[in-house]
Amino acid sequence: MAKTIKQLMEEARKDVPEWSAEQVEKALANGSGPKLIDVREKEEFRDGHLPGAISVPRGFLDMRVEEVVPDKSTPLILYCAGGNRSLLAGRTLREMGYSDVISMAGGYGAWKGAGREWVRDFEFTPEQLKRYDRHFLLPEVGEEGQAKLLQAKVLLIGAGGLGSPAAYYLAAAGVGTLGIVDNDVVDMSNLQRQILHTNDRVGMSKVESARATINGLNPDIDVIGYETRLSSENILDIIKGYDVVVDGCDNFPTRYLVNDACVMSGIPNVHGSIFQFEGQASVFYPGRGPCYRCLFPEPPPPGAAPSCQEAGVLGVLPGLVGCVQALEAMKIILDVGKPLIGRMVYFDTLSMELRIHKLRKDPDCPVCGERPTVTELIDYEEFCGLRGAAGAEAHA
């Protein structure tokens, strides 16, 4: 026999206790309290919600809740606008095996109406809501994560082989500010792998070419160009204010300068480097793991490690490594997963072997060790004897 909504609600009340907003507030004040789920529609959630609430609209609840709350013994408090939808949603969860489900009587209206704390998340434009839809579907990103990405600032050292895929994917993913350091111009020999640049931009500055490609893909992105050579004089001012640095430069003087400046500034450095058919990536996060000098304390002697310009590089290889760098930068911004801190991924593309090695922080590291000997930035260009000096050229 068909049931009325009143009958359904009465049945739900037998399975799902109702708490007042006051009771919910007390339960949430306990740090290890229950998980709070907002079952209203996304548009309602965006207008304002309880602090710390997770949005799982009732229409998707049965399909999504196990991703969000895998442990069915987790205490849950559901709320909606007035307390009806959350009660019915609670009954669904009880049928799914969730053992401790509460519905907040009076819902968000009662909570907010009594002057309790509420928050409004980042306001997306209608275009952004479409553009980042696939991120919104991931519980690890969602609207909160996308807002973090849009507000994040990533500095790319070099717009070459590694910087191109890294910047392009970070732009697509909606990292709001991309700084690009490169003082080179686009050369025909770059186009075999540097996918930000195009045939008709040969001779154009790489920063301007990168800006055109990035804004063509995603006009949300604020591209800040630095058409300059990095040096001990300017690097601290340039990296200041960035959340993450992505090192895709092509020479040792810059790699050491970037490493030391990141250690001194406390900024995570997502490292990538390549040679012919091989590449490596790691995350050097000050205070949380080793830095580049823990692996390679001093630059190699001149000629010991040839550049791509001298030794060649397979076109697709920087795409692999640069994408790993972009991924790691996103994980740091989102604070999800396990970044490559204290680990190095090494690609050998000819044998198609990928190995991950454990790295250790060197207590005697000259820059991040217990008694650092490198306490000022060093311009290594003369020492290394490399052409291009300490610029951030990425034309290798």
Partner: protein, 79 residues
């Protein structure tokens, strides 16, 4: 005893003749260290960049055991 050695990137130049590429099996005495292997490969100490034993960063004085994998990494400049 036998160990396996991997030489990466520019360090491949130290693969012994006839080893057939990297990785390769290499016979060492008991008590061999990373440094003694480098000497036998003809790799200068200045090339002792990053070394791992069984996938974990080690140093040149690390002792080696039967069947372990030793891997050498030069710094890579390219980007």
């Amino acid at each position: 005893m036998w160990i396996t050695i991997r030489l990466n990137a520019s360090l491949r130049r130290y693969i012994p003749t006839g080893a057939g590429g990297s990785p390769f099996a290499f016979e060492v005495d008991g008590g061999a260290t990373v440094a003694s292997v480098m000497e036998r490969l003809g790799m200068p100490a200045s090339h002792a960049h990053m070394v791992t034993v069984e996938g974990e960063q080690a140093d040149t004085q690390s002792l080696l055991s039967e069947g372990q994998e030793l891997e050498f990494f030069p710094p890579l400049a390219g980007g």
